[in-house]
C-alpha cells in the first residue's frame, strides 16, 4: 500500500482502527466500548497490579509448560511416524482426528480427571498444540529429498552424521512451521482452559472485571493479551524465516 508515493508499513492501518475506536468511545455509542485512551491509561494501572501479575505468571507458566510438553513429545513422535510406516499408519488417523476435533469438548474431562487447577490448563495447552507439531514434523521428515539422502550415503556419511548434517536441517523448516502454529494454538488453549475453569489466571481476572462492569480494565487485559499473542506469533514467524531461510529454494 502506497500513499503519496510513500510505502506504508504492513500493520500501520491498526493506527487508524485505534483512532476509530477512540472516536466511537468518545461518542459514548456503547457503555461496553470505552475510549482507547482511557483503556491505555488503565492498562498501565492494571499491569502494575498484583492481580494482573499473578494472572500473567500463571498463564505464562501454563503456556510454557504446555508448549514444552507439546514440543518434547510432538517432534519425536512426528519424526518416528515419518520414518516408520507401521507406527505412522497406526497413529496418523488419531492425529488427524484430534487435529480437527473441537478440543474444547475435552476440557470438562480434564477437569474431572485432573481437577480445577494448573494441571488441567497445562494439558489443555498441550492438547491444542501437539497435533499440528506432530503432523509437521512427520511431513518434514517425509519430504526430505531422496537424492539428498543418497548424496549423504554416497559420500559415506555415518548414520549420526547423516542425521545431524542432513536429515535434521532438511526437515527443520517444516518442524519450525509446525511449532509456530502449535504455539499460537497453545495460547488459545490456555485462555480457553482458563475461561472454562475461571478461577485461575486471566480467566479469573476477566470474570472479576466483567462482573464488576470494569470495562476499561477488561479491555486493557484484552489488549495486553492480544498484543502478547500477536507478538509471539510474529516473533516465531521472524525466527522461522531467519533459521529456515533456505526453505523456499530447496
Amino acid at each position: 500500500m502506497k500513499l503519496f508515493g510513500i510505502r506504508l508499513p504492513g500493520m500501520s492501518s491498526l493506527i487508524i482502527w485505534g483512532l476509530v475506536w477512540e472516536i466511537i468511545g468518545r461518542m459514548e455509542v456503547s457503555f461496553f466500548v470505552p475510549p482507547l485512551s482511557a483503556v491505555i491509561t488503565t492498562l498501565f494501572e492494571v499491569i502494575g497490579s498484583p492481580a494482573f501479575q499473578k494472572a500473567l505468571y500463571e498463564t505464562a507458566y501454563a503456556f510454557c509448560a504446555g508448549v514444552f510438553f507439546a514440543i518434547a513429545i510432538g517432534i519425536p513422535t512426528g519424526i518416528l511416524m515419518g520414518k516408520n510406516r507401521l507406527i505412522d499408519e497406526l497413529l496418523l488417523p488419531w492425529v488427524n482426528i484430534f487435529l480437527s476435533a473441537p478440543l474444547t469438548a475435552l476440557v470438562p474431562v480434564l477437569l474431572v480427571l485432573f481437577g480445577f487447577g494448573m494441571k488441567s490448563i497445562i494439558i489443555t495447552a498441550t492438547l491444542f498444540a501437539i497435533w499440528i507439531i506432530i503432523l509437521n514434523a512427520r511431513a518434514g521428515v517425509m519430504q526430505i529429498n531422496r537424492s539428498l539422502l543418497e548424496m549423504a550415503q554416497s559420500f559415506g556419511a555415518t548414520p549420526w552424521a547423516a542425521f545431524s548434517k542432513v536429515y535434521f536441517w532438511a526437515a527443520l523448516p517444516e518442524i519450525l512451521g509446525g511449532v509456530r502454529i502449535g504455539v499460537i494454538r497453545a495460547v488459545k488453549g490456555v485462555i480457553i482452559g482458563q475461561l472454562l475453569i475461571s478461577i485461575v489466571g486471566f480467566g479469573a481476572l476477566f470474570e472479576l472485571y466483567a462482573n464488576n462492569f470494569l470495562m476499561e480494565h477488561f479491555w486493557a487485559v484484552v489488549v495486553v493479551l492480544f498484543a502478547l499473542a500477536f507478538s509471539i506469533s510474529e516473533l516465531l514467524a521472524y525466527l522461522e524465516r531467519r533459521v529456515s531461510y533456505y526453505a523456499a529454494k530447496r
Binding site: 499408519e89 497406526l90 480437527s100 470438562p108 474431572v112 495460547v187 475461561l195 487485559v221 492480544f226
Partner: protein
C-alpha cells in the same frame, strides 16, 4: 494395500478403545468410565431421543454462525484480495484475530448480548471468520497472473475476470477456508455452551458431570468429537471431488 491400511486402522482403533476399557476397569479414576459403559450411555441417549434434541440445539448457533461468517467472510476476503487499499486497511485486523485468543471476548459478548442465542452465534462468528477471510483474500490475491492476463488479452471486462477467472481459480482455497471455519466454529459452539449457558450437548456434559453420571458425559463428548470429525472429513472429501483437477494443470507440474 487398501486392505492393509483398513486393517491397521481397525487394529489401531481396537488398541485405543481397548486401552480406554482397561483404564476404566482398573479404574484409573472414579471419574473414568469404561468404553462400553460410555457407549451404552450413548446408545441410551440416542434411543430416548435426548441426544437428537441436544444436537438440534447445539447445531443452531453453529449453522447460523458459520453461514453468517461464510457470506460476510467471503465478501470481505474477495474485497481484500482485489484491492490493495482494503488489504492494507482490513488485513491486519484479521491477522491479529487469527493469532489472538478470541475466546477472551466471551465475557464481553455475554454482557452485551446476554446469555441467549445471539451471544453464541457471535462466538461462532469470531472463531470462524478470520480463517475464512484470510483464506479467501490469499486465494484471490494469488490468482495466477497468466490467467488474468489471458482474460484481459481476450478483452474480458473487470466483472468477467472476477466471475469467470478469479473466483473459480480461488474456489479450492476458499472452500478449504470454509472447512477450517467450520472446524473453528465447532470449537466456538461448544465453548459457548460450556461457558455461557449449558444448552444442547453442553447441557448434557455439564448436567451429567454435576450428577456424576460420567458415562453420559463421556458419551456426549465422544459423540460431538465424532460428529465434528466425520463432518469435516466429509467436507474434505467433497473438496477433493469438486476440485480434483484444479490444483493441477499448470506448466510447472
Amino acid at each position: 494395500m487398501t486392505h492393509r491400511s483398513l486393517y491397521l486402522k481397525i487394529f489401531s482403533a481396537v488398541i485405543v478403545f481397548g486401552a480406554w476399557e482397561i483404564a476404566g476397569r482398573i479404574p484409573v479414576s472414579y471419574a473414568f468410565p469404561t468404553f462400553f459403559e460410555s457407549m451404552a450411555a450413548l446408545g441410551r441417549m440416542a434411543f430416548d431421543g435426548s441426544l437428537w434434541q441436544a444436537y438440534a440445539e447445539t447445531l443452531k448457533p453453529l449453522a447460523i454462525g458459520v453461514a453468517i461468517s461464510a457470506v460476510t467472510g467471503n465478501a470481505m476476503g474477495l474485497w481484500i484480495g482485489l484491492s490493495k487499499f482494503f488489504d492494507w486497511l482490513f488485513s491486519p485486523i484479521f491477522i491479529v484475530m487469527q493469532a489472538a485468543p478470541l475466546a477472551a471476548l466471551i465475557p464481553l459478548l455475554v454482557m452485551m448480548y446476554g446469555i441467549g442465542l445471539t451471544s453464541k452465534i457471535f462466538v461462532v462468528c469470531i472463531m470462524a471468520m478470520p480463517v475464512i477471510v484470510l483464506n479467501t483474500a490469499g486465494a484471490v490475491r494469488n490468482t495466477p497472473t497468466s490467467l488474468t492476463e489471458m482474460g484481459r488479452s481476450f478483452q474480458a471486462s473487470w466483472w468477467e475476470v472476477i466471475l469467470k477467472i478469479i473466483i473459480p481459480a480461488a474456489s479450492p482455497v476458499i472452500f478449504s477456508g470454509l472447512r477450517l471455519g467450520v472446524s473453528a466454529g465447532f470449537i466456538g459452539a461448544i465453548l459457548s455452551e460450556l461457558k455461557i449457558t449449558p444448552t444442547g450437548v453442553g447441557d448434557i456434559i455439564t448436567y451429567s458431570r454435576s450428577i456424576a453420571d460420567y458415562a453420559s458425559m463421556y458419551a456426549a463428548i465422544f459423540s460431538i468429537i465424532l460428529l465434528a470429525v466425520l463432518f469435516l472429513n466429509l467436507l474434505e472429501r467433497l473438496e477433493h471431488y469438486l476440485f480434483e483437477g484444479n490444483t493441477r494443470g499448470y506448466a510447472s507440474d
